[in-house]
C-alpha cells in the first residue's frame, strides 16, 4: 500500500489507541478520583485556589456555571484588548511590531477567546512576543473552558436527579493543569527535537544558497504550537500556520501535531462514557462521528491525490496529486486528510491552502464545519453533538410511540426550544453573514481574490469557519478590513457562547427532572439503530440548511470544471 495512505492510517490508529486510556484518565480527573499525577498537581491547584480565593468544592447549578464561565471570559476579553492594542511599547517586542487597530484587536481577541483563532494578521509582522504569549495563554484557558462546559453535561447525566453539577473552576483548572499542560509538554519536546525554534530573540539573518540575505522570523514557537493543537485552537505562530517549515518542520512533526489535535476531542467521547458508566453509549457516539468523519476525509484524500484535470490538460505532470498550495514534504494525501481533521475538530490550523483544494474537497471542508459535531473542538464537539442527540431522541421517541427520553429524562417543550434555537443559529450565522457580504460588494465581496463561484466559496468559508469557531481560512480573502473584522467577530462570539449556553442549560434542566428507569419499551440510545438516527438527523439538517449555498459555490465550481 501507498506509504502516504499508511501514514494516515497510522495517525488515526495511534490517536484512537491513545484516546481510550486518556479518556479513562480524564473521567477520573473530573470525578475527583486518585490519579498518578496527584502529587504534582494537588499542591499546584491548591495554590491557585488559595490565591484566587475560590472554594473549588462549592457545587454549582447550571446557571451558576454559566455565570462563572461568562464572567471569566469577559475579564480575559478586556485584558486581551489592552495587550493587543499596546504591544508596540510593551516588553518582548524585539522585531518592533506595531500595536493592532481596534477592529483587528477586537477580531483577534474574540477569535482567540472563542477557541477559534481566525487570524486576520500575520504572526511575523502583526504581533509581538508578548502578544504571542498572551494568545498562548488564551489558547490554554479557552480550551479549558470548553472542556469544563462539557463536563457539566457529563455531570448532569451521572446523577439520577440533581441540581448540583460540580464546580466550574474545579473542572476548568483541572482541564488546564492535568490534561492540556502535560500533553502540550510532550508535543513541545518532539517539536524542539525536530528543529522548531524556542527563543525570545528577534529575527534571524541567514544567507541562502543564492547568497541572498534573508530575515527569518523566530520566537517561542515550540511553546506556542503544541497548545494550538492540543487545545484545538489552530492559531498559527506564523501567518501560514502549519505549512510553515518552522511550525511544522517534518513528516514526524506533522504526524505529532495531527495526533495532538485529534486526541482530546476523541478522548472526550470516551471520557463521557467512562464518567457516566455507559461505555456502549460512548462507542455509539464515536461510531457516528467516525463514520461522518471518514465520509468526508476519504473523498478528500482521493480527490487531492487524483489531482486537477485542468492541470493535466495543460500537459503538466499531475501524478503527485493536486499540489497547488501544498507542501512537498507533506504530500497530497496527508494534506487532504489534515484538511478534514482540522475542519471537523475546529482546530483550523492548516498545512495546505484550502483555497487551492479541489472544489468538492473544499465543499467537504465546509461541510465539516457546517456540521461541526464530528469529534468537534475540545468540549465544544460534545456540546454540539449533544444538541443533535436531543433532536434525534425527540424524533425517534415519537417514532416508537413514547414521549422522548434520554438517559431516563423526558425531553419536553423547553428543551426542544433551546435545542432548536441552537441548531438554527449555526446556519443563521453562516448564511446571514455570507448574504451580507454578498449583498454589499463594496465592503464585503470586494475582499475576494477570485470572482465567480470560488469567490462565493471564499466568503461562505470565512463565515462558516467563524460560526464553527474553526479559524481556518480559504485564504485569498483580504479580510483585515473593519467589515470583515467586526462581522466575523460577532459571528465568532455568538458561534461560541450560544452553543455552550444552550447544551449546558438543557443538561441542567434535564438533570433536575425525575429519573425514569428503563423498561423494555424504552428506546435504547446506545444502539446502532439510534446512531443511525443521529447520523441521519445531522446529515439532513446540514443538507437542508446549506444545499443552496453549496450549490452556488463549490458544486457549481465542480461542474464547471468537469
Amino acid at each position: 500500500m501507498n506509504t502516504e495512505i499508511l501514514g494516515i492510517i497510522a495517525m488515526f490508529t495511534i490517536t484512537l489507541l491513545l484516546a481510550i486510556p486518556l479518556g479513562k484518565y480524564m473521567a477520573k480527573v473530573y470525578a475527583g478520583e486518585r490519579t498518578l499525577l496527584d502529587p504534582v498537581f494537588n499542591p499546584l491547584e491548591k495554590l491557585f485556589f488559595k490565591v484566587s480565593g475560590i472554594n473549588s468544592k462549592n457545587e454549582m447549578t447550571w446557571k451558576q456555571h454559566l455565570v462563572a464561565l461568562l464572567t471569566i471570559n469577559l475579564l480575559w476579553f478586556l485584558m486581551s484588548m489592552f495587550v493587543l492594542m499596546n504591544m508596540s511599547w510593551l516588553p518582548l517586542n524585539p522585531d518592533g511590531n506595531p500595536s493592532q487597530s481596534v477592529d483587528l484587536a477586537f477580531n483577534t481577541t474574540i477569535s482567540f477567546l472563542v477557541n477559534c483563532n481566525l487570524q486576520h494578521y500575520s504572526g511575523e509582522t502583526g504581533i509581538s512576543y508578548l502578544g504571542q504569549l498572551w494568545l498562548m495563554f488564551l489558547q490554554f484557558v479557552t480550551a479549558g473552558v470548553g472542556m469544563a462546559a462539557a463536563v457539566v453535561i457529563f455531570k448532569a447525566f451521572k446523577e439520577k436527579s440533581t441540581t448540583q453539577l460540580g464546580n466550574f473552576y474545579d473542572f476548568f483548572v483541572k482541564s488546564c493543569t492535568r490534561i492540556l499542560l502535560p500533553l502540550s509538554l510532550i508535543v513541545a519536546l518532539v517539536l524542539v527535537f525536530e528543529g522548531t525554534p524556542m527563543t525570545f530573540e528577534g529575527k534571524d539573518t541567514i544567507t541562502n544558497l543564492q547568497g541572498d540575505t534573508v530575515q527569518v522570523s523566530t520566537g517561542p514557537v515550540a511553546a506556542f504550537v503544541p497548545i494550538k493543537h492540543v487545545g484545538t485552537n489552530g492559531g498559527g505562530f506564523f501567518g501560514v500556520n502549519g505549512a510553515h517549515p518552522l511550525e511544522n518542520p517534518s513528516f514526524l512533526t506533522n504526524m505529532t501535531e495531527m495526533v495532538a489535535q485529534f486526541i482530546i476531542p476523541m478522548a472526550m467521547i470516551f471520557a463521557f462514557g467512562f464518567f457516566i458508566r455507559r461505555r456502549r453509549f460512548a462507542w455509539m457516539v464515536f461510531g457516528v462521528m467516525t463514520v461522518g468523519f471518514l465520509l468526508l476525509a476519504i473523498p478528500n484524500i482521493i480527490m487531492e491525490m487524483n489531482g486537477n484535470p485542468e492541470i493535466a490538460k495543460m500537459g503538466i505532470d499531475n501524478s503527485l496529486g493536486a499540489m497547488e498550495g501544498k507542501e512537498v514534504r507533506i504530500g497530497a494525501a496527508a494534506s487532504g486528510f489534515w484538511s478534514i481533521v482540522t475542519t471537523v475538530i475546529s482546530t483550523g490550523s492548516i498545512n495546505s491552502m484550502h483555497d487551492s483544494s479541489m472544489p468538492l474537497s473544499g465543499m467537504n471542508e465546509l461541510l465539516a464545519m457546517m456540521i461541526n459535531a464530528y469529534y468537534g473542538g475540545v468540549g465544544a464537539g460534545i456540546l454540539n453533538f449533544f444538541i443533535f442527540i436531543i433532536l434525534a431522541v425527540f424524533i425517534s421517541g415519537l417514532m416508537v410511540g413514547r414521549t422522548p427520553e434520554f438517559m431516563g429524562k423526558k425531553i419536553e417543550a423547553r428543551e426542544m426550544k433551546i435545542a432548536m434555537i441552537i441548531a438554527l443559529f449555526h446556519p443563521f450565522l453562516i448564511l446571514v453573514g455570507t448574504a451580507l457580504a454578498a449583498a454589499f460588494p463594496t465592503v464585503g465581496s470586494a475582499a475576494i481574490s477570485n470572482p465567480g463561484f470560488h469567490g462565493f466559496s471564499q466568503m461562505l468559508y470565512e463565515y462558516t469557519s467563524s460560526a464553527a469557531n474553526n479559524g481556518s481560512g480559504f485564504e485569498g480573502l483580504g479580510d483585515n478590513t473593519p467589515f470583515w473584522n467586526i462581522s466575523t467577530g460577532i459571528v465568532l462570539l455568538l458561534g461560541r457562547f450560544l452553543p455552550i449556553i444552550g447544551p449546558v442549560a438543557i443538561a441542567g434542566l434535564l438533570a433536575e427532572k425525575k429519573f425514569i428507569p428503563e423498561s423494555s419499551g424504552t428506546l435504547k440510545t446506545d444502539t446502532s439503530t439510534f446512531g443511525l438516527v443521529i447520523f441521519v438527523v445531522i446529515a439532513i439538517v446540514a443538507a437542508l440548511s446549506f444545499f443552496p449555498a453549496l450549490a452556488l459555490g463549490p458544486i457549481a465550481e465542480y461542474f464547471s470544471l468537469k
Binding site: I395, S396, L398, P427, L431, V432, A435, G521, L544
Partner: protein, 678 residues
Amino acid sequence: MVQKINIMSKSKNTSLFQPELMNEAFKQSFVKLNPKIMFHNPVMFTVWVGTLVMLFVSFSTLFGVEGQGSFVYNFTVFIILFLTLLFANFAEAIAEARGKAQADSLRKTREETPAKLENGKTISSSQLKKGDVFLCEAGDTIPTDGEIIEGLATIDESAITGESAPVIREAGGDKSSVTGGTKVLSDKIKVVVTTQPGESFLDKMIALVEGASRQKTPNEIALTILLAGFTLVFIIVCITLKPFADYANAPITIAAFISLFVCLIPTTIGGLLSAIGIAGMDRALRANVITKSGKAVETAGDIDVLLLDKTGTITIGNRKATKFYPTTGVDEKHFLKAVVLSSMADETPEGKSIIELAGVNPLNYKLENPRYIKFTAETRSSGIDFENIRIRKGASDAIKNLVEKAGNHFPKEVADWVTQISSNGGTPLVVSENENVLGVVELQDIIKPGIQERFERLRKMGIKTVMVTGDNPMTAKYIAEKAGVDDFIAEARPEDKMEYIKKEQADGRLVAMMGDGTNDAPALAQANVGVAMNSGTQAAKEAGNMVDLDNDPTKLIEIVEIGKQLLMTRGTLTTFSIANDVAKYFAIIPALFIAAIPALNELNIMNLHSPESAILSAVIFNAIIIPLLIPLALKGVAYKPIGASALLRRNLFIYGLGGIIVPFIGIKLIDIVVSIFI
C-alpha cells in the same frame, strides 16, 4: 331511535369519508382560512402568507410588471398553494367532523325526555339542574346523568355501551351511577342529578373535539417547536438565497422563491398535525372511552405500570364450582343433596354453579318448612334449616369454628383439601350437616381466554401488569402466575392501591388504573391515567381522566395502544415530511439556477422537463401528499409491540427511506404530466 344510534356508535368500521361529513369538512376548510385561525399553526400560516403574495404577484404581471414570468404560471402557483391550504384545513376539518359525528351519536341518546320530579311534577330533561331529584320506573328513559339515592333497578344501557344484557344499578354501592339515555327495565329508583346541563363528560369531550377548548398537549407543543424551527431555517435559507443568487447573476422570480420555501417547510406534518391529535381522541371515543383531555390519551402511550382488578379483567367475573370432595364415610349422594340444598337460596353465580355441577334439580327434593339462612359477613356461611336438619356451607374457618364449638371433630383430610385447593388458586367451601363436616366444594377462578396473550403483548410494549385482588396471597399468586401478570397485590384494600401507585410514581413510572368505587377515587386521581367505569360512582368518574362507557376492564390495553399510535403517527409523518425535502431540493435548485449557471443542470438528476415544470411539479407534489396522507393520519400508524429498536428501524425504513424515495418518483411522474401542458 335508540336502536339506530346503538348501531352507529358501535360500528367501528365506518368508512373514513362519509358524504355528509365530507360536505361539512369541505365548508370548514374555507372557514378555516381565516388568518386568526391559521395563526395557531405557524407552518401553515407562512404558507398562507406566501399564497397571498402569489396572488399579488399574479395580478401584478397583468399590469406590466416584468421579469416574474407569465400570469398563467404565477396564477397556477397561486392556485396550487391555495389548494395546499385547503387540503391542510380539510384534514383538520374531516377529523373534527368525524369526532363530532361520533360524539353527536352519543349525545342524541339524551334528547329531550320528560323527567318526573319528587314532587310529582314533570319537566323536560333540559331543565334539570344539579341537585334535582327525579324518579324513574320500569319503561322510563333516564333523563340525565345522576346517582341513585334510593332503590335498585335493572337498566338497559345498550344505547351507550352496545351491550344488550341489562345491568343492575343500586343506591349506595359502587354501581350507583346512571347515564342519561339509558332505559329502566324493572323496579323504581330515585336519582339525584350530578351535573349541570351542558357540563357532562360527553359535553366536555365534544367541546374538545370541536376545538373550542382543545389545548395543545405538551408533546404537540414540543413538536410544533421543532416544526417552527425548521420553518425558520428555511426562511433564512430562502431570504439569504436572494443575495447569493444576485451575486451569481442568477435572478430568481418571486414564484420560484415562494415555491421553494413552501416545498421546504414541513407542510405535510404541519397540515396534518391537529388532525392526528383529534383522530386520537376520536379513536378513543370509538373504543367507547370518553377522554377529558387530549393529554390523557398521549400519557396513556407512556404508561409503564398497569393496575388491573382481578375480577372481570383477568378472570371471568365469578368463580365456578369445579369439584366435590365428600369426607370419608359420607355417601356421595347424601353429600350432593346437602350441597344442592344449601345452595338453593343462593342467588350468587357461585351458588348456581354448584347446582349446575351437582346436576340435580333442587326442586326434586320435597322439603317441609325450609328456612333459608342468608350469608352474612359475621357468620361467613349460608345454608338451610328444615325439619331438624341444619345444613351450612361456608369458609373453612367459619365452619371449623361452628363444628368445634359443638364439640365435634374437624377432619384432617378436610383441612388438607382446604390447603390444597387454596394453593391451587381455588376457593374451598366446607359443607356441614348438624355441625358435622360432610365435605368440601372447590370453587375455581376461570381465567379469561386469551388474557395471557394480551399480557404478553403488554410486556413486549414494556408495560408491567399488576393484578389487584381481595384474595389471600396464596390464591393471588397462583392466579397471577397462571394469567401471566408481573406482580399482584393480594388482600388489597383501596389504600393499598394508592400506596402501590405512589411507590411506582416515586420511581418515575407512569401508572394507569381502572376503578369504579368511591374508594377508588383517590387512586384514580393519583394515577397518571385513571379510567373510571361509567357504571361507577360520580366521585370515581370525577377523579379519573377517562370514562369507559363499556365498563370493560380490559379497555386499558386498547387505550395504551391508541396513545402510542398517536405519538407514532406524529413522529413518522414528521420524518416523512422532512425526508421529502431532499427530492424537492433536487427538483427546485437546478431549476432556479439553470439559466444562469448551465453547469448546474447536472444536479437535475430527475431529468425534469423545464425549470417551470420542475417547480410546478414540486409544489403540486407538496400539495397532494397532504390529502393522500389523511387516511393514515386519521387511522394512525399501526403499533407493533416488537421492541423499541426494532420498531424504530421499521418506521425509519418505511417513513424515512420511503420519505426520501417517494417524492423522487412522484415529482417525476407529475413532471411528465405537467410537461404536456407547458
